[in-house]
């Protein structure tokens, strides 16, 4: 098998691994910053089918929202640790880097339905005029498993 073929296979493996990880998890850690001061928050996320976008909802009075408004660059971590010693060997974490934007009213229907399918109980929160549906545009995933094994998945736009 030539290298390109091999890479393609590996990428599709990672893709489905990520898909399974995302399906198994409801919450992600979102990292933003305020003038260089890092700041993390737990958010309920949902992923687009092609994994190029991660959706979450935030109130407009939150720090993460203010941070993102002044700098849209962010990171997001999704992992499956279970707070057990075996996590070190068995747990997996995916860190996404990229930038976040607000999904406008007229392109909201599809992502919102994806989001609410995963989090039906957040319907009031999602539909409140005081919150915003956000899109994390993923540039790259850093996938860590078996403690130190790291691969990168660069998303093409």
């Amino acid at each position: 098998m030539d290298k390109r073929m091999n890479d393609k296979n590996q990428a599709s493996n990672i893709y489905s691994t990520l898909e399974n990880l995302f399906k198994s998890q409801n919450l992600a850690v979102l990292a933003t910053h305020n003038h260089g001061q890092p700041y993390t928050s737990l958010v309920a996320f949902a992923e687009s089918k092609d994994l190029k976008a991660l959706y979450f909802i935030t109130g407009q009075a939150t720090r993460k929202y203010a941070n993102l408004m002044s700098d849209p660059r962010a990171a997001m971590m999704i992992d499956n640790r279970s707070n057990a010693p075996a996590d070190i060997a068995e747990a997996m974490a995916a860190t996404a880097t990229g930038s976040v934007d607000i999904i406008s009213e007229n392109e909201r229907i599809k992502p919102l339905s994806v989001y609410l399918q995963k989090h039906p109980h957040l319907v009031e929160f999602a539909k409140s005029p005081s919150t915003r549906l956000m899109r994390f545009n993923v540039m790259c995933y850093y996938v860590v498993n078996r403690f130190q094994n790291v691969v990168e998945l660069h998303m093409r736009t």
Binding site: G59, Q60, A61, P120, H121, V123, S128, P129, S130
Partner: protein, 729 residues
């Protein structure tokens, strides 16, 4: 299994079929005459709330805030929101198909009752009975499914939650089965207690003409027979007046005048009494426990509607308010009576009392007479406060009754849409604020007047304006503030509010157009008798909404009169107390006037706040009470004197809005209140002006300080302290 008929239910189904279904199944299996029925098991409830995400939503709603810190109105709000979840969540197709396939052939087009059958509901020793909803006179599979949802939702009604909070509200443990039972077109119904709670050797039968719902809900006075428990011999008969009966009609059942030929005859004859007694004793033998049985006659055929163990009178803990909570569930009939009493008697007397008190000259009374007057006024105030709790607050349920009816009919996105139909321009505080706005407008248009007021040159102020302001003050705010010579000048506090108001055009009251549209859409859904019922409910709700504001004001007037007397005493004693807020302080003034030796300690200890600088609240959750998003600097109003500093665009933060605070509401960017609830004064006024409002924030006046920059999310009930006010800056 999601659905079981009465033949399929066995003793092992206690937890999934609930007490009512299990008892009926056993009666049926033992050849008792019971109406055709099926049980929708708790498995169906579980499937519904799990597959739709509702379980988590309910959990989020009830854990929004520590349950023990919630007032009944907040619990009611939470219940209303949960009820709306049930109404707005579509039935998953697997459940819907099964309901249609299995229920429709059993009942076809016959009328049914849809009743709660919660596990534990009818166990002896518990007193759940009557907590959950039951509906009669339902027809068609769509309506049946709708009412199943309503019965499920009643597991989370305020009354049910208040009862269960003692045993812990567990969203995983709380379940509900539903009994769908064919309606018997009955002409006589009633209940029998096989043992008289007051005398174990007797049985009691109560009977009415028509449906027994009238008896159970207490609208129709029943005929009553006391029987010898051993042989069924009638020991005594207490006939009723037999004026009304309950028959099928809009909203399930309606109270109507009893036809003359029926009113002269008791609902049961000797034969009927014998049949009911024998059936009930057979039931007692079957269940091996004294029974409380509901029965009905269709012609000469007797049917058992339900049979449950007589609950054994549970020991009530002291200060248990649960009885009072339950008294808040009132029927239309009951509220209509209450309205007449409030509007035609109580309010009239209250105004007369306040007028009489206001007309009395207190300054020249000798000390002892003044002391007596203060004490008398404390009594009068407390008397009215009690009436307020016992009669006026329960009357607020006119809004709730309408709210439920509206929500059930219109299924709106916003569970509080019904409040918009209640808006009228007759609210007293709105009216008063309009007068104040007129004064502010005069100042706005007259720079010289404004300048003179600002610089305190009252002597140069136009005398017409002074007169108007004084009129306003005397009519609406008399004795609110302890200022000397208040009859000669316009009090500073009022001047500063007027000046601030004159700086910009105050917010306009939200337009009434939408209300008309909503009202039209609502009423057009009904025809004939049902429309009359709907209009009646709306009218009652409006009266209750209006009174919710007005009675507060009237009570406020009486309170002011009590304080006026105390104020007079205070001046005479030459003591300095900033506020006359507690009856104890006021009483101490009366005692000091009576007894010069008496030296009370008027200093009230300053409460330590549990918040220290290291711990700063950032985001606080309360109840969404007025939709909208508002930002501004906080103005914490601890007492009325704080009102004078209120600036346009500030966020009003307070313990509980009292009617006098509503003066500044039109200038506020948002309102945050410690006391919770959708129908409390602050929330009503906020909605009236279209101002974002969050209520029920327990730490509001402790954690928020004047000058803090706040964002108030009235959609979700969130208050964020964006920036803490730096006092040194």
């Amino acid at each position: 299994m999601l659905i079981k008929n009465l033949d399929q239910i066995t003793m092992s189904d206690q937890q999934t079929a609930g007490g009512k279904c299990l008892a009926l199944a056993r009666l049926h299996q033992n050849a008792f005459p019971v109406p055709k029925a099926v049980c929708i098991t708790t498995d169906a409830y579980d499937t519904f709330i799990s597959s739709t995400g509702l379980r988590t939503r309910i959990q989020m709603e009830i854990s929004r805030k520590d349950f023990s810190q919630m007032r009944w109105e907040e619990i009611w709000d939470a219940a209303l929101r949960i009820r709306n979840f049930f109404l707005k969540t579509p039935m998953p197709s697997t459940l819907d198909d099964q309901f249609r396939n299995e229920l429709a052939p059993v009942f076809r087009n016959s009328m049914v009752a849809v009743r709660s059958s919660a596990p534990g509901e009818d166990d002896h020793g518990t007193s759940f009975a009557g907590l959950h909803e039951s509906f009669v006179n339902i027809s068609g599979i769509d309506a049946v499914i709708d009412h199943v949802l309503l019965v499920w939702a009643s597991l989370w009604s305020d009354a049910a939650m208040l009862y269960r909070k003692e045993i812990g509200l567990d969203v995983h443990q709380s379940k509900m089965a539903v009994l769908v039972q064919e309606m018997i077109n009955s002409d006589r119904s009633g209940v029998i207690f096989t043992r008289n709670p007051a005398n174990k050797n007797e049985s009691i039968i109560e009977a009415v003409h028509g449906l027994n719902q009238g008896l159970v809900d207490g609208f129709i006075e029943p005929d009553r027979w006391i029987l010898d428990m051993k042989n069924g011999k009638v020991l005594s008969h207490m006939p009723a007046e037999r004026k009304n009966w309950m028959i099928p009609g809009p909203g399930g059942a309606v109270v109507k005048e009893l036809p003359a030929q029926k009113s002269s005859i008791p609902p049961l004859d000797a034969e009927g009494i014998k049949a009911v007694f024998e059936q009930a004793m057979a039931s007692e033998r079957l269940f091996d426990y004294p029974q409380d049985m509901e029965w009905t006659f269709k012609g000469s055929s007797l049917y058992v509607l339900q049979s449950r163990p007589i609950s054994t009178g549970i020991q009530k803990p002291e200060n248990d308010d649960r009885g009072w909570y339950l008294s808040l569930r009132r029927s239309l009939e009951n509220l209509k009576k209450l309205r007449i009493r409030i509007e035609q008697d109580l309010v009239v007397r209250m105004i007369r009392e306040a007028d009489a008190l206001a007309g009395e000259h207190l300054e020249n009374l000798p000390d002892q007479k003044l002391a007596g007057e203060i004490e008398r006024r404390i009594q009068i105030f407390q008397n009215w406060k009690k009436i307020y709790w016992d009669e006026f607050i329960p009357f607020a349920h006119g809004m709730r009754l309408f709210g439920q009816y509206y929500t059930d009919t219109m299924r709106p996105e916003d569970p509080y849409e019904f409040v918009r139909l209640l808006e009228t321009s007759e609210l007293q505080s709105i009216e008063r604020n309009r007068h104040l706005a007129e004064l502010a407008a005069t100042v706005r248009e007259n720079p010289e007047l404004k300048h003179n007021l600002k610089t305190g040159k009252y002597l140069d102020v136009d005398s017409g304006f002074i007169k108007k302001a004084q009129q306003f003050f005397l009519r609406d705010m008399e004795t609110e503030y302890s200022l000397t010579g208040r009859r000669e000048v316009v009090p500073e506090i009022l001047v500063s509010i007027i000046l601030e108001m004159s700086e910009a055009n105050p917010q306009q009251k939200s337009a009434g157009k939408t209300r008309m549209e909503l009202e039209g859409a609502f009423l057009d859904r009904f025809a004939a008798e049902e429309r009359i019922h709907a209009e009646e409910l709306l009218d009652l709700a409006r009266a209750s909404y209006r009174l919710r504001d007005d009675d507060n004001m009237f009570l406020g007037r009486i309170e002011r009169e009590m304080k006026r007397a105390a104020e007079t005493g205070k001046k005479r004693l030459g003591i300095h107390i900033a506020r006359l807020d507690s009856p104890e302080t006021i009483d101490a003034i009366a005692r000091s006037l009576n007894d010069p030796e008496y030296q009370p300690d008027f200093e009230t200890p300053v409460q330590e706040t549990p918040y220290r600088v290291e711990l700063q609240a950032r985001q606080m959750v309360g109840q969404p009470a007025g939709p909208g998003l508002g930002s501004g600097n906080a103005r914490v109003i601890r007492n009325r004197d704080d009102l004078g500093g209120f600036l346009h665009g500030e966020v009003l933060v307070c313990d509980a809005i009292d009617p006098n605070m509503t003066l500044v509401v039109p200038m506020a960017a948002a309102i945050v209140e410690r006391r919770g609830g959708m129908l409390i004064h602050g929330a009503i006024i906020a909605r009236e002006y279209g101002i974002p409002c969050v209520t029920g924030v327990p730490e509001a006046i402790i954690a928020i300080h004047t000058g803090d920059k706040l964002t108030v999310d009235g959609f979700l009930g969130i208050v964020t302290i964006e920036k803490v006010h730096d006092a040194d800056a």
